[in-house]
Symmetry: C2
Subunit: 201 residues, 2 copies
DNA sequence: TACGGCATCTTGCCAATGTCAAGATTCGGC
DNA sequence: GCCGAATCTTGACATTGGCAAGATGCCGTA
């Protein structure tokens, strides 16, 4: 077959089909939710045959597992950068919320273990990396750091989940980051001033 | 056909098939997750034909919508009772977590709007009832109550979600309610003493 | 350059699922 | 006692995930 040299339109070997499939999957999921997205629709979007995704990911679970792993790595990267740029605990939380809102498909898949094949080593590794960054970086001195860390993560995770679920009461003209900031401040208000920042390394 | 008078085993009219289907659906979902549960399996569990669920709920979305509405009502009831029994803010949060952990299937379906038919009036009503109880009852005086309410709900909701996602670091022999209590206390520590309780009516 | 192994992708197929239409069975009101 | 309506079943169809077998193109080796 005449393979176009630009490497785009129609060719048997796609070049980077795996990444393309993950991208299309994320787009489709953020539009319709995981439940309504089929492997075949993802294949259609990518312009390949219906069995191509199965070859790359083994199964639908496999694709969602890969998507979750990708999400945990992206989250870890983001938290890493955020921790380098600021030691402000509130801003780290805002960064977490921003990740969730800008990657809704990944976020949706990441925290639904039923969608994963739990023994996947890549997912396990990505989860662990993100977990260490989430627990290592933000701690609120003055209390049991473990519990405070869990509480902090719960707060921002819950806010993101509720926002994405459309569960929060409507409030016009207030962007989500600002509402998240306000909620986190409500969390921090009343604390002693010195404990606001994350511990530097 | 010989209809047994005890009203159980085999009869054309089940009696309360709708409720039975919801029960079986909740059980199946809590075992395998929403994604892997089919209408036909629910029908099989209930011992009826594969099209019986569709008759009662119109579609798979319809069944999940009904399940979500049932969940919001149960949550509203629980919060109502909790608010009558205690004014302790922390214990209200623990009650919220307990609901999520004891009704994982409902909780899983309640906060995934993609699974619902959004215009369902019963779901809308149940959501609003639960929402009013969640926002009316727990307020932390001393800050903008709206933001504090959002933060509080986010905290307990996030904890429940993370726990159900198996995302929290393992800690042997510590039951989830206690860990939730610890996390909430970490939230409250450092606040002025008087603002711990919910406002009485 | 020729060639052989191999990863990539396609085609064809099957069982299972959600949904619909038509029929069977039973309940409730008159 | 009877008729309409609600409940549930049977049968069918398009779609889906997964598998097997084949087609296609890439890459290293001689």
């Amino acid at each position: 077959m005449n393979a176009p040299l630009n490497g785009r339109t129609q060719q048997y070997h796609h070049g980077d089909l795996r990444r393309a499939l993950l991208d299309h999957a994320a787009a489709a999921i953020s539009e319709s939710g995981v439940a309504k997205v089929s492997l075949r629709e993802i294949a259609r979007r990518a312009g390949v045959s219906h069995a191509a995704p199965t070859h790359h990911f083994g199964s639908r679970e496999g694709l969602l597992t890969a998507l979750a792993a990708q999400g945990f790595h992206a989250l870890a990267d983001l938290m890493h950068n955020a921790h380098e740029q600021t030691a402000d605990f509130a801003e780290m939380g805002v960064a977490y919320v921003q990740f969730a809102l800008s990657h809704p498909a990944h976020f949706e898949v990441m925290f639904q273990p039923h969608l994963h094949q739990g023994d996947d080593p890549a997912l396990r590794a990505a989860q662990q990396r993100a977990g260490e960054l989430l627990y290592g970086a933000p701690t609120l001195p003055g209390t049991g750091t473990r519990d405070a860390g869990i509480a902090a993560w719960s707060l921002v995770h819950g806010f993101a989940t509720l926002w994405l679920s459309n569960a929060l009461p409507a409030e016009q003209d207030t962007p989500p980051e600002q509402r998240a900031r306000q909620a986190i401040r409500a969390f921090l208000d009343g604390r002693s001033e010195g404990s606001l920042a994350a511990n530097d390394d």
